[in-house]
């Protein structure tokens, strides 16, 4: 109760109002709908009791740092420099809200403008917004945005082709977000070897948008993607989902024709944090600006002609445009994007490259080690992988995971969870911090499991 400064001063204040009891304040609530019993909740706790309970409960969790871990699947066990949280939790940032009054919010506005710049540079597109909820809603809203822009001229009205390598939880989000706009989601096929199927690309001709991921959700990079913009043409949007860190070494989609780039920002700024709060990246070409979702900051001037920042293009947004808004997003993930901005600016260009190289090196080493185990095969042999790779096991992947869990290794993701047909496949994800001994543990564990189940 140490949060309410007027505790104990109720009478003094009620007197001013001419009221007797706190309940009098609620006189407008009809009796029939009043709650008459106390809430069946526990006793109030003090800070130290809450801290003790939180430490006990969360302390009972097994973390990704406690053991060799190869579970990534879109979230990253990263190392976030200490300065990031110390700066982002400064009260002026932490306890502010949407900068409706730019005159007293220049700091956050500038930070977000810088964030936009860094994201834009990262992905190679001119405009970025200040964050979406996550990579999946970013992908979903990229699709609705693209349809709004292209539907008039589209031959296949309302049709969007989505790569079959889109993980099902993301696809579910996409479907929820697009069904109301009468968008038809068709599947963009891939070849056996993981590359995009060019006949499927042909089928997409004249549709509103094509959504692919690079690397795909199995960590494979497909260089044939670099040619598809030319095939689908100007009137169909190319939307690409990325692994943000990979762009330290991998050509950004903006430079091979992507119109909208989306992705998960989490690797910059915050831990996997049980899945949230994280933040989605959203960047696009100029022609999408007025249809894009989310907040955006622009440079302008004040009445003294000094540089100033402000939210701009708000006429797209729900608080102005209401049901005709480009999106319903209001509260977004700015604070986490701020953490991302600080992390990115600490890294710098060469630091980003190094981070990507560390992941690349560990991908390489892990892939080599694991694929050398007899009985284990790469799902996409001969391809370049970043961060993740899928392997086919002799038995159910779920069994391998259980076995290795007992050995204290988090071995990856059972791909059977995503696609029943892949229940013998394991998705192994590394990060910049994967160590030789981590790889060894995984290698030994999987080898032992195969041996035991011979």
């Amino acid at each position: 109760m140490d949060q309410m400064p007027n505790l104990g001063r109720e009478k003094e204040m009620l007197d001013v109002l001419g009221l007797n009891t706190m309940d009098d304040l609620f006189a407008n609530i009809p009796l029939e709908i009043r709650r008459n019993t106390p809430l069946p909740l526990p006793e109030p706790q003090s800070e130290e009791e809450i801290w003790a309970d939180a430490s006990r409960l969360l302390g009972a969790n097994i973390t990704l740092e406690d053991r060799p871990s190869f579970l990534s699947a879109g979230l990253v066990r990263n190392f976030v420099p200490t300065a990031v949280a110390m700066l982002a939790t400064r009260g002026e940032f932490l306890t502010s809200y949407t900068p409706y009054q730019p005159e007293v919010s220049q700091g956050m506005l500038q930070a977000m403008w810088e964030f936009q710049t860094m994201v834009s540079e990262l992905v190679g597109l001119p405009v970025a917004n200040v964050s979406m909820y996550d990579a999946s809603t970013a992908a979903a809203e990229a699709i609705t945005c693209a349809v709004r822009v292209h539907n008039r001229k589209a031959i296949q009205k309302g049709v969007v082709f989505v790569s079959e390598y889109t993980p099902p939880h993301r696809l579910a989000v996409i479907k929820n977000y697009t069904q109301g706009a009468e968008i038809e989601i068709k599947t963009l096929k891939h070849l056996e070897n993981g590359e995009v199927d060019m006949t499927s690309i042909k089928d997409a001709e004249g549709c509103c948008a094509v959504y692919v991921e690079q690397p795909n959700c199995l960590g494979m990079l497909d260089d044939t993607l670099l040619d598809i913009k030319e095939l689908i043409g100007e009137e169909t949007a190319l939307i690409v989902g990325v692994d943000a860190v990979s762009l330290g070494i991998i050509d950004p989609p903006g430079s091979w024709g992507a119109d909208i780039v989306v992705g998960e920002g989490q690797a910059f700024g915050i831990g996997p944090t049980a899945g949230g709060p994280i933040y989605g990246l959203f960047a696009c070409g100029d022609k999408y600006i007025r249809q894009m979702p989310g907040r955006i900051v622009g440079l302008t001037k004040d009445t003294d002609e000094n540089k100033a920042f402000t939210l701009t293009l708000s006429t797209r947004e729900q608080h102005i445009r209401r049901h005709r808004a480009t999106s319903n997003i209001c509260s977004n993930e700015t604070l986490i994007a701020l953490m991302g901005a600080i992390h990115m600016s600490l890294l710098g260009p060469e630091g980003l490259e190094r981070l990507a190289l560390r992941v690349a090196a560990n991908t390489e080493l892990t892939k080599k080690a694991i694929s050398s185990i007899k009985g284990i095969e790469l799902v996409d042999p001969g391809k370049y992988n970043f961060r993740e790779f899928a392997v086919k096991l002799p038995h159910l992947a779920s069994e391998a995971l259980t076995y290795l869990d007992k050995l204290g290794v988090i071995a990856g993701l059972d791909l059977g969870i995503w696609w029943k047909s892949m229940d013998h496949c394991l998705l192994i994800g590394v990060d910049d911090r994967t160590s030789e001994s981590d790889i060894e543990s995984l290698y030994l564990g999987l080898s032992e499991w195969i041996e035991v189940n011979k």
């Binding site: 809430l39 801290w51 406690d66 109301g180 049980a274 700015t334």
Partner: protein
């Protein structure tokens, strides 16, 4: 020369290559790695990010933060946004490795502690709102609205009522309400409020029909008044076959006093970041769980946190006799709205927040409402001596005796007599070291200031705000219309921004 006159420019930092944040070397040599990337895939040139050392970055963001106003800097009466103090221990809790270093796909026996908190939160929210089942997956209020309307949509489809195509919202509704329903594919019917700012039952009656899918409404309304006819409204909508949706942004006004269940709602979202706690610096993150009555629960996004009694065979749990698990919602679930299990960090912070009040949570609502009424009274009843000096008093946005946790003022008289707008007064308030109230919302109140003090402000702060506002009302109109005068920048030209659209840094001379 003023301190800090020169702007700190992130992209002007251009130290040595690689002078940024030091990292270990990759475990394979750079050249080998680079050449292993298929040439076509390789990045040609690095992004133009700043090259800076830790001291420079710390100074830059410290400087930026010093040009930003938060609750920690002063009163933040932004109506509808519930800008209350965030207990600091919550920030420490979410930095525990058992929170920060957790992957949402880890097996259940790795995350019993997190699941226990999830379960407790689902239960607590259901209890306080009179709903049957809660999901914590939506990550903001707007997404909660969207999710709940999606559930209602699937419900109607299942009931063979797929033709219901309209969602009714009062004209005082928050913009996210119509936007969310519209994203689900619904047409919006906006109904006008009555003269007292309240819901107009007649208007509602004439709006409902066979095509009504749902009504979305918040109570107390965005004017801060309690819709005392809410049960009747629910009756009207229900008898037309529609569902009642409760926008929980104002839930903090009524906890323990009443609940949406009692009012007749079928679904509700909670803004954890408002009612409870999740610092949403600069605009987010939030968390927008929803609660539904049992007939809607089969449609909820999946999974939920489930609980059963612990048995012999279970691994070690969290010592409360239960085993927690992720419960699949089943085939009728709408699937996912966020990639994982929602904003877990916000859930844990809100859990820590609610634990502080426990069964006395209603005290929070009481103090929020007390502060709101007290401030409104102080504003509307200046001391006689002061009253003499005031040019013109604002009007109540809603002519109610009592308000709930927030209230509106209309500055129409001021505008008519002196040409001073609500925006001018808002900007002038910035000079007094407070954040301006919400401006021009709800739109049905002309020249509206919407004020929400929250329970974490002291009487002294409220007294000072009232007297500052009185001062402004007695100031030279020119001083007010040209405000702010003491902020980091003067009044910002928003039109210029929209016309010129400079949305990224142009890069600096040194070729960055």
């Amino acid at each position: 020369m003023d301190r800090g006159e020169q702007m700190s420019d992130l992209f002007a930092f251009n130290g040595a290559k690689g002078a940024g944040w030091a990292q270990p070397k990759p475990s394979i040599e750079r050249e080998i790695l680079i050449s292993s990337i298929p040439k076509k895939l390789r990045r040609k040139s690095l992004p133009k990010w700043p090259r800076a050392s830790e001291p420079e970055i710390v100074r830059h963001y410290t400087w930026l933060s010093n040009r930003n106003f938060g609750i920690d800097n002063g009163f933040y009466p932004l109506g509808s946004c519930t800008m209350k103090h965030n207990p600091r221990v919550n920030e420490k809790i979410v930095q525990l490795p058992g929170m920060d270093k957790i992957h949402p796909l880890q097996p259940e026996h790795h995350v019993q502690g997190l699941l226990a908190i999830y379960f407790e939160m689902q239960e607590m929210l259901a209890t306080c709102s009179g709903m049957d089942q809660v999901t914590l997956q939506p990550v903001a209020g707007a997404q909660g609205e969207f999710t709940a309307i999606r559930c209602i949509q699937e419900y109607h489809r299942q009931q063979g009522q797929g033709h219901r195509s309209k969602v009714i919202v009062p004209d005082s509704a928050h913009g996210t309400n119509p936007a969310s329903a519209s994203m689900c594919g619904y047409d919006i019917i906006e109904i006008p409020s009555g003269d007292d700012g309240r819901l107009d039952l007649e208007a509602l009656k004439s709006a409902v029909g066979d095509d009504t899918a749902a009504m979305m409404i918040t109570n107390p309304s965005t004017l801060g008044v309690f819709e005392h006819q809410i049960a009747e409204a629910a009756e009207i909508v229900h008898s037309a076959g529609g569902q009642m949706y409760y926008d929980g942004a104002n839930f903090n006004a009524i906890i323990g006093k009443t609940d949406p269940g009692r009012m007749g709602f079928d679904a509700v979202h909670y803004n954890l970041h408002k009612t409870f706690s999740q610092p949403h610096g600069g605009g987010g993150p939030g968390s927008g769980p929803i609660g539904v009555k049992s007939h809607l629960s089969q449609f909820l996004p999946t999974p939920l946190a489930g609980r059963r009694n612990q048995v012999e065979a279970d691994p070690k749990g969290v010592d409360d006799g239960y085993w927690y698990f992720w419960q699949d919602v089943g085939e009728n679930s709408i699937g996912k709205v966020q990639q994982w299990n929602g904003n877990a960090g916000a859930v844990v912070r809100s859990w820590a927040f609610y634990r502080r009040y426990g069964k006395e949570l209603e005290k929070m609502s009481e103090h929020a409402v007390l502060n709101s009424n007290y401030l409104r009274h102080r504003i509307m009843n200046p001391d006689p001596e002061i009253a003499k000096k005031i040019h013109v008093m604002p009007l109540n946005g809603a002519p109610a005796d009592l308000v709930m946790h927030e209230f509106t003022l209309s500055l129409t008289p001021l505008k008519e007599l002196h040409g001073v707008t609500g925006k001018d007064v808002a900007k002038r308030l910035l000079d007094y070291g407070v954040m301006a109230p919400t401006l021009y919302f709800p739109t049905i109140v002309p020249e509206c200031l919407m004020i929400e003090p929250t329970e974490t402000e002291s009487k002294e702060v409220l007294d000072k705000f009232a007297s500052d506002l009185h001062k402004i009302l007695s100031e030279d109109p020119d001083l007010v219309t040209s405000a702010p005068h003491t902020t980091d920048v003067k009044r910002v030209d928003e039109v210029w921004a929209a016309r010129n659209l400079i949305l990224k840094h142009p890069g600096n001379e040194s070729g960055q």
